[in-house]
C-alpha cells in the first residue's frame, strides 16, 4: 500500500475539515470528508480507510461541553469499530475539537466508575483564544510526532485546558508515555530550551508556565495526548494551519527555508503506510 485513505470525519459544526483534508492530500494521502451520519449508519465504511481524523470545529455547537455530544455518539454506536480500527495498526488523529472528542470517548483514556479522570475544559482565562504557541514533544512513541522535537503552531479554542482528577492520574499518564506534547518556552524561533525537556511529562502537574506560554492553564503544560499504542493522538494546536510558509504569523521576517512545522504531522501519518 502506498497512498493511505484518510477519513476526515465531519459532524454538524465541524469547520476545519476542508483544510485538514487538504493537508493530508498535500502530505500524499487521499482524503475524503465523511459525515458522521454516514459513519453511524454504516460503520463498515471505516474498513476502506487507514487514517481517521476528527478535525477542529464546534461539533454540535460545543453544547453541554466541547466534544461531548459527538463523543457520546461514537461511544454509543461505534466504539468497538474504532477500537478494532486502532488495533489493526491504523491511525486516529484528533485536532482541537477532535482532541476534545477523543478524550471524552474513551479512545485516549479509559472511563472509570465516576466518569473520565482527565478532560479538556475551560481555559483559565475564561476566553476563547487564537494565538501561536511553542510546543515540545515528550518522551513518547506517538507515530504522529516521530522525529519532531519542537513546533510553533496556533491554538484557537476556549476549552483546551487539560485537567485531571488528581495527581495520580497525571503520574500514570506520564509513566505510560501518553503525555506526548506540551506547551514550552522559546528562546529563538521555535527553538526550545533544553531545560524544558524535563518539564514536558514532568512529575509535577502543578508546575506550569504562566499565560501566554501555557495559553490555557493546562495541567503539566499538556497540549497533546496519545494512547498507549501511540497510534491514537489528540492535540489542541492546529497543524493544518501551518502547511505553507505564508501561514506563519511573521513569515515576512523569515528566510525562505523556515521549518513548516504543521506539515510534518501529516507526513508522519501518511508515511507509516508507505
Amino acid at each position: 500500500m502506498s497512498v493511505p485513505n484518510v477519513m476526515v470525519l465531519r459532524a454538524p459544526g465541524t469547520n476545519c475539515d476542508e483544510e485538514t483534508a487538504f493537508a493530508f492530500e498535500q502530505a500524499g494521502g487521499r482524503a475524503e470528508r465523511i459525515h458522521i451520519n454516514r459513519l453511524l449508519e454504516q460503520p463498515r465504511v471505516l474498513e476502506a480507510f487507514q487514517i481517521v481524523c476528527i478535525p477542529g470545529g464546534f461539533s454540535y455547537g460545543d453544547d453541554i461541553a466541547a466534544g461531548r455530544i459527538l463523543a457520546n455518539q461514537l461511544m454509543a454506536k461505534i466504539a468497538d469499530s474504532l477500537r478494532a480500527f486502532r488495533d489493526a495498526g491504523k491511525l486516529i488523529l484528533g485536532i482541537c475539537n477532535g482532541f476534545q472528542v477523543l478524550i471524552k470517548s474513551g479512545l485516549l483514556i479509559d472511563e472509570g466508575e465516576q466518569g473520565f479522570d482527565a478532560t479538556l475544559t475551560w481555559n483559565l482565562s475564561g476566553r476563547y483564544e487564537d494565538r501561536w504557541v511553542h510546543l515540545q514533544t515528550g518522551d513518547t512513541s506517538c507515530v504522529f510526532l516521530k522525529d519532531i522535537e519542537g513546533m510553533y503552531l496556533p491554538i484557537a479554542h476556549a476549552e483546551g485546558r487539560f485537567a485531571i482528577r488528581n495527581r495520580e492520574v497525571f503520574t500514570d499518564l506520564a509513566d505510560k508515555g501518553q503525555l506526548a506534547l506540551c506547551y514550552a518556552r522559546a528562546t529563538a524561533e521555535s527553538d526550545v530550551e533544553a531545560s524544558d525537556k524535563k518539564r514536558c511529562g514532568s512529575r509535577d502537574p502543578n508546575s506550569i508556565y504562566k499565560f501566554p506560554t501555557n495559553p490555557n492553564g493546562s495541567t503539566g503544560n499538556v497540549a497533546g495526548l496519545c494512547d498507549v499504542t501511540g497510534r491514537v493522538f489528540g492535540m489542541m494546536p492546529h497543524p493544518e494551519r501551518f502547511i505553507e510558509r505564508t501561514q506563519h504569523p511573521h513569515w515576512t521576517r523569515l528566510d525562505h527555508d523556515v521549518s513548516i512545522d504543521g506539515r510534518k504531522i501529516f507526513e508522519n501519518a501518511v508515511r507509516l503506510f508507505h
Binding site: I64, N72, G115, F211, R241
Partner: protein
Amino acid sequence: MLWQITVYPADPQHDRLAHQVANSVRLGVLGLNDQSMSGFQIASAHGFLLQGDLDLATVKKIATKLLTESAVERFEVSRVGDSSEENVEAGHLVYVLPKPGVTDAQADSALAAIQLLGATPSAARTFRRFQVTGLTNEEAQLLASRLLANESIEQVVFGPLQIKQLEIDNRYEFALTRVALREAGDDQLREINQAFQLSLNLVEMQTIQAHFRQLDRDPTDIELETIAQTWSEHCSHKTLAGRIDYCDEHGERHFNNMLKETIFAATQNIRKQLGERDWCVSVFKDNAGVIKFDDQLNLTFKVETHNRPTAIEPYGGANTGIGGVIRDTLGTGMGAKPLCNTDVFCFGDPNTQTRDLPPGVMHPRRIMQGVVSGVRDYGNRMGIPTINGAVFFDQRYLGNPLVFCGNVGMIPQEHSFKQPQHNDLIVSVGGRTGRDGIRGATFSSAELTESSEQTSSGAVQIGNPIIEKIVVDVVLEARDRGLYHAITDCGAGGFSSAVGEMGEEIGAEVWLDKAPLKYQGLSYTEIWISEAQERMVCSVPESHWEEFRDLCMSEGVEATVIGRFVPTGRLQLKYHDNIVGDLDLEFLHQGRPATIRQAEYAPSASLPLSTPSCFLPGESLLSILSSLNVASKHWIIRQYDHEVLGRSVIKPLVGSRNDGPSDAAVIRPRLDSQRGAVIACGMNPYFGDFDTYHMAASSINEAIRNCVAVGADPSRIAILDNFCWGFTDRPTTLGSLVRAALACRDIAEAYGTPFISGKDSLNNEFSYLDSSGKRQTISIPATLLISALGQVADVNQCVTMDFKQAGSLIYQLGQTHAELGGSHFSLVHQLTGGQVPQVDAGSSKALFAAVHQAIIFGWIKACHDLSEGGLSVALAEMSLAGDLGCEVELDSITFDRMRACDVERAQPEYKTIVQLFSESNSRFVVEVATEHQSLFEQHFGDLCQAIGRVQTIPRVTITSQGNPIIDLTIEQIRHAWQRPLDLGGEYQNGDLQ
C-alpha cells in the same frame, strides 16, 4: 416528573462564571457603593431541568455520563426546588433561564444525546444559578438584570425554582384580522401605524388607504404588515434612493434617486471606462457585490449594520448581525461560500461612570463585551475567520452603538446569477420559525427611546450558528448539483421579504401553515414576518425536490415546501384553506409614494486650531497611543479565530511578537493558489464634524491606502459604503449625508475604485427625559464606513508594517499638510478648529501605483499607512511590532503653510506638531534596505522624504534641527498602547518572553 441537575465547579476548580460577573462588578458596571462592593460575593452553578418519566438512577447516569465533566465538576440531582445547596437565608439565590420559546440549543442537544443513553425525557431546559451575598434586595435586582440575565430573552427567578412543567401549551386559534383602513381619518391612520408598529409616514398610510378603497375592501393585518416591511427604510432605502432637493455652497441640486446619481453612477462610469477589462460582475443588485478574482472564481463582499438590536441586546444583536451577513453571502448568486468576516464597532467610552448614563442606556462596557462575545461565538462556531475590523469610541454612540458586520465569499463564475422559474417550489431551508425578531425591519428604521427596551424586545433575535453552518454545507452541495434555480436569505422581514423579492417578477402563493415552527401558537402573520435566524429560501423545480430534500435530510437540515412561484403577478398568502392576504406585486414594490426630502449643507467657517496648553511631544505621542481608538485591540482580536479555513496570509496582529497592528488582512481564497484577497477599512467620524465631504474622501483614501500598504494592486480594489446617520428628516442631517455621497462619487471615480454594494442605517438618535424632565436627544456623529476588498497577484510579495532590520532606511511617502482638524492630537489636547484633512485624488492615485510597483520590485521591507496620530504613531507602531528602534530626523518633511492660518503659524512649536501629528491623507512610512536606496529614490523622486534609520537600540528617537524632541523606549510605547483595552489582563499577569 421534573428533575433538576445542578452542576458545580469541583473543588479547587475555578468558578469561571462567578469570576466574570465579579470582574464586571469590580469595574463599576453596577455603580455599587464601596460598602456593598467589599461585602459582595458570588458563586455560580449551571444545570439542566429534565422532564419525563425518569427514575433517580437514570437521571444520575445521565448526569455522570453526559452532563458533567467529573474531573472538574460535581453535580446534585433533585426534584425541582429541592436542591440541598440552596441557601436562601445567606443572601440571594438567583436562577436565570431562557424564556419559554427562546432557542435553548444546549437543551435540544442534551435531549438528543440522552436518547442515545436509552432514556427519553420529554423536555429539557438549561439554567444558570447564582448564590449572591452582601447585597441589598435592590442591588441584587440590579445585578440580576444588568449582569446575570438578559431579560429580553431570559427570565430571572429569585429563590428556589417553582416550575411544575416545561412545555407551554399555547395553541393558536385562527381568526382573520381585518384593519378598518378605508374609513379611517388621518389621526386614526397614525394610530394604526403606531398600534402595528409599521413605521410608515402619513402619506404612505394614505397611499395604502387609497389602494384598498379602490379595491373596495379593508386590508388584512398581514397585508398591512407586508407592505410596511417592503416599504421600510431597512428594505427599500427610501430616503437615500429617493428624491432629494439638496443645496450647499455650490447651489441647488435635485436628485430623483440620490444613490443612483452619485455612488452607483460612479461605478457605472468606471465600468464603462474599463470596457472589456471591467472586473465588476454584479453591483448593487444582489445580496452582495460580486467581482472577478481569477479565471474561475468571483469574490462577493457585503457589510451590514445591526445597530438597533444591538442597543437592546448586545450579544444577540451582534450574534445575529454576523449570522445575517453570512447568509447574505450564501444568498448571493446561486450561493457563495463564506470566506472571512470583518467587524467594525462604534461604542461609548467603556470607562463612563454609571451615574453619567442617560436613562435606559446600557453601560458601554457591557455593550462592548456583549458585542465582542456575540461576534466571536457566531463567527468562530461557523468556522469563518474574523480577520479585519476597527473600533471607534465616542460618547455620541452611548445610546446608539453601531455594529457593522461584513463577509467576503467566493463563488464559481457560472453560479454568479440566479433566476427563479415559473412554478418552482418555494422551499424554506434551515432553522424553524419562531416569534423571534418580529418587526425587526420596521424597528430598525425607528428612533430609539428609553422605553425601546420594553416595546421592542420581540425584535431581538438569538442565533444558532451550528444550524447556519449545516445549512451552508448543504446549500453549497445542492448548488453544485444544480438542484435549485435561485436562493436568497431570510433577513429583515423574514419570509415576507425573501419571498416577496424572489417572486417580484413572477408571483407567489404561500402556504403559511406548512412552515415548520419552533413551538405552537404563532399567528399566520407572525409566521410571515418572523425574523427567526438561519433560514434560507430556495426556488426548487418540482423535478429536483426529492433529491434536494434527501440531501438536506442526510445532513440533518430541515427543508420544507411552503409555496410555489406562480405566474400571477400577485402575492397570495394562505393559512390552511383561508386566503389571508392577496396583494398586487406591482403595488407592493412600486406603489410607495415618492416623497421629496429637503437637504441642505452649510460648511462651517474654518477656525484656527486652538493652542495646546502645554506641548511635550513624547507625552502627546503616548497619550495618542493610549487613546481608545488607537490603542491595541488585542483583547478583541484574539477572541476571534482569524485562521480557520487555513487561508490566512497577513493576520490582524503582525511582527516579531505577533502584536503589531496590521493595516489590512490578506487571505488566499483558494488553498491551492497564491493569489490573495486583501480586506481593509477606513472610517473617521471626527473629520465629519468638520466637513462630511472630506470625511468621506478621507475614509476612501484610508481604506485604499491600507490595502496598498500590504501589497494590493490599487487598480483592482472594490469598496463598500455603510452610512450610519442621525435623523434624516432634518434637512441639515440629510444634507451632510448627501455631501458625503458626492465625495464618494468624486473620489471613487477619480481613483477608478468602484463601489459594489452598500447599506445605510438612518435615524440613529436616542431620546430621553433628563433629570429635569426635559427631552434630550443624542445623535450619532455622521459615520461612514468604507470597506475595501483588494487583490494581490502573489501573496509571497505581501509586506507587513513591522520594522525588519536594523540599519535599513526609513522614508515617509506623500505630502504632509497642516491638517490637524479632527486629529487625535486635537482630541487628546482637547483642541478645536484647524483644517480637516483633504484628498488630492490625482497625486495620491499616482503614489498608490508607485508604492505598489515598489512592493512588487521587492524594495519595501515594511510599509505602514499614516492615519490617527500621523507620523509619530506610525513610527511607534512599526518599532514595537518589529521590536526594533528607530532614529528619525524631521527636517526633510516640509509642508505648505498656506493651509494654516496666521494664529497657528505663530505658534513656536507649530511646525513640529504638523510634522509629527498631522493626519494628512495619502501617506506611508516605509523601510528600505540600503542596497535598494538609489533605485527606490529614483522611483519616488519628490514623493519620498528620507527621515531616518531602523536601529537595534529599542528606542524611538526623533529629532528636529538637531534637537531631540521624542525619545521613548519601545517598552514605554508598548505599555501605553497595549494597556488601555487589555480587558483580559493579558499584559498584567503574563510572562511574556
